[in-house]
């Protein structure tokens, strides 16, 4: 089996190398064939691995490939851990990646960087595989940073755009702020458990039972919160979310693959992987839950006021990542992974559909310039509708199951503030439905606001674009219905996830679960369902029925609107405090301390002192022999006087 895992990871890398170095020679067709073949191999093998490890026996494969570093008794290796969690991630990542690869053929058709783009997305797929297949913290960090690198390169793919290269710098550095915490967390893991291997660490968690690192703060809480800071960066949780909207500067396929379906969920995956540790700290879990809730609610609100088609989806992604994080916080890890999976399909679908619209609109992204597109783009329209219904949790669709389970899990959580978080996630359903349908109506329905030139050329996208839409629409409908029972209650993830007996959410959920079908019928009696309906109605009213009302509300509540429109001021705060503050500090240190104090005063100062002494002494060096002779005789006189008139003088003992 080891060779199969290696092939899964390495075949996209191979594709990336070929596309990257020989793309120009091979030409477009050969390049994308090789790149797609690489990912296709991974997809097929991932399905096989899923079959073996999840459907058949549920065994765990855990083996090192090679020793990266051996110091004394500490071994850090590159290795694979394949269990239920990894298998699910492999299938999700490889499938979405394959769809995005195919989609790219059509989407990037007129782009000069065609082969480079394939190289990057294949490289990304490799890095993501290394991340989810890792059996230790070092390799996890490698994958973590490697996906960040590719994200950086792809956000700035259109490097001639100033906004793109600003966004990718911001993305990298904000992620580094998260990694700062993450790395410290890893360092503490090594310090207390003398290992970076997952299994070894998880099996020796007892050693830090009751150990405090600071007064009143336990080691485990510190480690978990530091690791979670890493997750906040990668999975864009408030306040480290600021990079994700900017990442929309990149081409749409990567917004779907990296900034919606896979990379941004790495934090969710990581916390699930670390569930044995997080379970030991209620404090950390509470922090996770609250941060998630804040993100889910407040980022959703921002989705309402956005007019860029991709940014609406981006804020929706932030909000959904918040939902997943909430699920982690209430110890419903399998639910978080379940939502991660359904979200990967329907959000990739929504992004790719948005991309299809963007291509048809000749790279117009402002939804106010669209409208009535459903007639011209039937496939995009229907698949978008499916994606939207999945996102807002329409009963029966994929997102319905996962979101409902998250809300129920919060409901049964006994963590402090869980009741408040419950309201946040329920209100979030209304908001999700509102912004999703608002965009849907404005883009596809209502009066066409498309300019005449574009309108003449408006047509459905090419098959390479519509095929992935259809292929992603299918799981967006059915995957929730199919997967909910085995994934949450029948043990797909049991060999990877630990839940302590004190955290009852999952047990409560399983008591109340009576099959996927009955959930649909039961939905009518639940609050979230009516919240969703309310959201749909509100969206219809404001974007189709009485558009003037939207403006009226905007004027009436202009302060609220201002707060939302300025994105709660995070960007401005960062600009003032971090960007400018740090530059000022740097200049201050450089000019005053480095150049002023050290260089001018101490270094050149001592040179000046030498020069000064020199200038004082120099007149004595007259060059006249009689001056020197006089000085010598005079000095001798003084010395002799001193020798003769002082009593115990050392000079007297010198043996001439």
């Amino acid at each position: 089996m080891e060779n199969i895992y290696l092939t899964i990871a390495l075949s996209p890398l191979f594709g990336a190398i070929i596309a990257g170095f020989f793309g120009a020679i091979l030409g477009r067709k050969a390049t994308h064939t090789i790149a797609i073949a690489g990912v296709l191999i991974s997809t097929v093998l991932s399905l096989y691995v899923f079959d073996v490890h999840v459907l058949e026996n549920g065994e765990i494969f855990n083996q090192n490939i090679y020793t990266w570093m051996q110091i004394g008794g500490l071994n850090v290796s590159v290795g694979f851990l394949i269990d239920g969690l990894t298998s699910v991630m492999l299938v999700v990542v490889s499938f979405v990646s394959l769809m995005v690869h195919i989609y790219t053929i059509g989407y990037m058709d007129d782009d000069d960087g065609y082969t480079k783009f394939f190289s990057y997305i294949s490289l990304f797929t490799f890095a993501m595989f290394m991340l989810v297949m890792s059996n230790n913290f070092m390799q996890l960090f490698f994958g973590w940073e490697a996906v960040g690198l590719v994200s950086y390169l792809l956000i700035g793919f259109w490097h001639h755009k100033e906004s793109a290269v600003e966004a990718n710098l911001k993305a990298f550095i904000v992620n580094r702020v998260g990694d700062f915490g993450f790395l410290l967390g890893i360092a503490l893991v090594l310090m207390y458990f003398d290992s970076l291997d997952y299994t070894e660490v998880f099996s020796s968690l007892d050693v830090i039972n009751g150990v405090n690192i600071f007064d009143g703060v336990s080691v485990i809480t510190t480690i978990c919160i530091l690791l979670f800071i890493g997750a906040m960066g990668k999975s864009a949780q408030v306040p480290l979310h600021v990079w994700l909207p900017g990442s929309m500067e990149g081409p749409t396929p990567i917004s779907a693959l990296i900034h919606a379906a896979t990379m941004v969920t790495a934090g969710i995956f990581m916390v699930s992987r670390m569930s044995p540790m997080f379970e030991l700290s209620d404090v950390a879990l509470t922090v996770v839950m609250i941060i998630g809730a804040i993100t889910a609610l407040f980022m959703g609100l921002l989705g309402i006021v956005q007019n860029d088609i991709k940014r609406v989806v981006a804020y929706s992604t932030l909000s959904q990542l918040g939902y997943m994080t909430v699920a982690l916080g209430v110890s419903a890890y399998s639910v978080a992974i379940f939502h991660l999976m359904t979200h990967a399909f329907f959000k990739a679908l929504l992004f790719l559909a948005a991309g299809s619209v963007i291509v048809a609109m000749h790279h117009e992204q402002d939804i106010r310039n669209m409208g009535g597109l459903y007639k011209k783009m039937p496939i995009t329209y229907v698949t978008s509708l499916i994606g939207t219904l999945a996102l807002i949790g329409f009963p029966g669709f994929a997102g319905f199951y996962s979101k409902d389970m998250i809300i129920e899990a919060v409901h049964h959580s006994s963590l402090p503030y869980a009741d408040l978080v419950y309201y946040a996630v329920v209100v979030g359903v209304f908001i999700t439905a509102f912004y999703s349908l608002r965009m849907f109506f404005i883009v596809f329905h209502g009066k066409s606001r498309v300019d005449q030139h574009t309108k003449d050329h408006l047509k459905e996208s090419a098959p390479s674009i519509t095929f992935p839409l259809i292929a992603l629409a299918i799981p967006s409908v059915v995957i929730g219905y199919i997967a909910i029972e085995p994934m949450l209650f029948a043990g797909w993830l049991d060999n990877a996830i630990t839940v302590s007996s004190g955290h009852q959410s999952m047990t409560e959920l399983s008591h109340r679960f009576h099959g996927a079908a009955s959930m649909i019928f039961h939905a009518l009696q639940t609050v979230p369902f009516w919240m969703m309906v309310g959201g749909i109605v509100a969206a219809w009213v404001f974007s189709i029925y009485k558009t003037a009302w939207a403006d009226a509300i905007k004027t009436r509540f202009h302060r609220t609107y201002y707060v939302l429109d300025s994105l709660y001021g995070f960007d401005r705060l960062n600009e003032i405090v971090f960007v400018n503050g740090v530059k000022k500090l740097g200049n201050l240190l450089w000019k005053i301390s480095d150049m002023g104090l050290i260089d001018s005063m101490l270094v050149n100062g001592s040179a000046k002192v030498v020069r000064f002494i020199g200038s004082v002494v120099r007149p004595i060096q007259t060059g006249y022999v009689y001056h020197y002779a006089f000085l010598m005789i005079f000095s001798l006189l003084i010395i002799l006087t001193w020798v003769l008139f002082s009593g115990d003088n050392p000079l007297l003992y010198i043996d001439f």
């Binding site: 550095i173 700062f180 360092a187 150049m595």
Partner: protein, 501 residues
């Protein structure tokens, strides 16, 4: 061993350099080919040294000993262990690169230029392999001279100021070292470094010796606050000079801490370890901020060097607090991390200076503001530059990650706040490096000169590709590097922990 391999490594480049001088500046082509041939032979010999090295023991190997100045018992005594060997390889490797890098660029006094680097190579290998304190001191000071000339002759507009500043700074430091070496000779009657390791010294003696050494080594590393010569020296030095300065000369300071400070003055090192650590952390954080606001690319990389070298001194001196009885891993992580960081910095700083050199050769400007959108005219070059920038920012799978990762893992075991401050480099390093990349390489083309740039030629491609491979291989598989040094470092750890009191 049939022949005196180590001596050959020292004297072949020195004598070769002399021959190159004799060839003369009037025959530049001969001088170039002769120099490259010598440097490649020396490199191959150094690989022979590596393959003949037994990494299972910490004892000195390839030892040669002859009496030199009998009256004072000064010997020509050389040998290598796992600490010096990697640095010697780094030296022979970097010398090839600078000779190739100066191939077309240097047109004035070609033979002298090439000879200076060859002679410097021999002298620096001498530094790393000396086992006699006076021999060491002689090589140490002698190696300043070629560098002084390189900056002073082939440097920029303000080269004389920079050259003198460089010389006086480093010379001043070394004088104190000489005094303490003579003191120990007077006490123990031998200039043998290994004998000094065994010498009994009181805490007062150790403290004096420690600070005297510190003056010499801290200037070289360079540590805060004696670092201000480095940005000036780099800015004025020609590309090759910067490469050797950053890749190798700074390592002489780090090497000094390994070879002298820890084993000779273990108790003083323990006593003052926190001072050194605080200075290292200042270097990492404070210099990180300073690097951020630089407008000159070379200055930025120079400051980045200081910040990265902070990890070396941090890793070395964190050992006392990181060490827990029965568990040496924490201390070893710091020490070996420091070594790996030195090697990695050798590659990355060399690469970064070469990258700037490529741009400088074309537009004769080091100002960041001159550039913008370089990727449009130089895509291949930008690929390399981004790779090295990422390595400089410590991206995993590059060598830049390994050393910093190890040192942070070690430092946290000494004190969690050390690790917190050191980890700030994750943010600062990425910020100053990638901000520069953004302004130089990305974005729209800012002016016509950039539009006209030619992408790198085969020679430049080869140099950068070799460095890229080195950076990636060490990043993905550092174990062989660690294995070479492991026995020696473990022994050093014991020396550092055994009190002489």
């Amino acid at each position: 061993m049939d022949y005196n391999l180590l001596s050959l490594l020292i004297w072949l480049p020195i004598l070769g350099g002399v021959v190159v001088i004799l060839v003369g500046n009037s025959r530049p082509e001969t001088a170039r080919w002769l120099s490259i041939a010598i440097s490649i032979i020396v490199f191959v010999l150094s690989i022979d040294l590596l393959s003949g090295y037994d990494s299972s023991t910490h004892s000195m190997q390839f030892v040669e000993q002859f009496s030199w100045i009998t009256q004072f018992d000064i010997n020509y005594h050389i040998g290598v262990d796992g600490i010096s060997l990697p640095l010697i390889i780094l030296t022979t490797f970097s010398t090839i690169l600078v000779i190739v890098a100066g191939w077309e660029v240097i047109t004035r006094r070609v033979a002298h230029y090439m000879a200076a680097f060859l002679i410097m190579e021999g002298l620096i290998i001498g530094v790393f392999s000396s086992l006699d304190a006076i021999l060491f001191y002689a090589f140490w000071e002698a190696s300043l001279i070629p560098m002084l000339l390189i900056i002073g002759i082939w440097g920029g507009d303000n080269r004389v100021y920079a050259a003198i500043k460089f010389f006086l700074y480093t010379f001043l430091g070394s004088v104190f070292m000489l005094i303490s070496l003579i003191y120990m000779y007077n006490k123990g009657g031998s200039f043998s470094i290994l004998a000094m390791h065994e010498m009994d010294l009181s805490l007062v003696e150790q403290s004096w010796i420690f600070w005297a050494f510190f003056m010499a080594f801290a200037v070289k590393v360079p540590m805060f606050p004696v670092h201000t010569w480095l940005p000036d020296a780099h800015v004025q030095a020609p590309t090759g000079g910067s490469v050797i300065l950053a890749a190798i000369m700074l390592k002489m300071g780090g090497y000094g801490f390994f070879r002298f400070s820890l084993p000779i003055t273990p108790d003083a090192s323990l006593e003052f370890s926190e001072v050194v650590i605080i200075l290292s952390l200042i270097a990492i954080v404070y210099i990180g901020f300073v690097a951020l606001v630089q407008r000159d690319m070379k200055k930025l990389i120079a400051y980045s060097s200081i910040s990265h070298m902070g990890f070396v001194t941090l890793g070395v001196f964190a050992l006392f607090l990181a060490y827990k009885p029965g568990a040496t891993e924490g201390a070893l992580l710091g020490l070996e991390g420091a070594m790996v960081q030195m090697i990695s910095h050798g590659f990355i700083s060399a690469a970064m200076f070469l990258v700037v050199g490529v741009l400088y050769d074309r537009l004769h400007s080091r100002e960041i503001a001159t550039y913008g959108g370089v990727i449009n005219s130089m895509p291949k070059f930008t690929g390399f530059a981004v790779l090295f920038a990422m390595a400089n920012a410590g991206l995993p799978a590059t060598s830049g990650f390994v050393g910093e990762f190890m040192v942070i893992l070690g430092a946290i075991q000494a004190n969690i706040w050390y690790a917190v401050l050191a980890s700030l480099t994750l943010i600062l390093g990425a910020a100053y490096t990638l901000w520069m990349v953004k302004r130089v390489f990305w974005g729209p083309i800012t002016n016509d000169a950039v539009k006209e740039l030619n992408d790198i030629n085969g020679r430049e491609f080869a140099i950068l590709a070799i460095l890229a491979l080195a950076v990636l291989i060490v990043g993905m598989y550092p174990q062989p590097v660690i294995e070479v040094m492991h026995a020696s470092i473990e022994n050093l750890l014991q020396q550092g922990l055994n009190s002489k009191l």
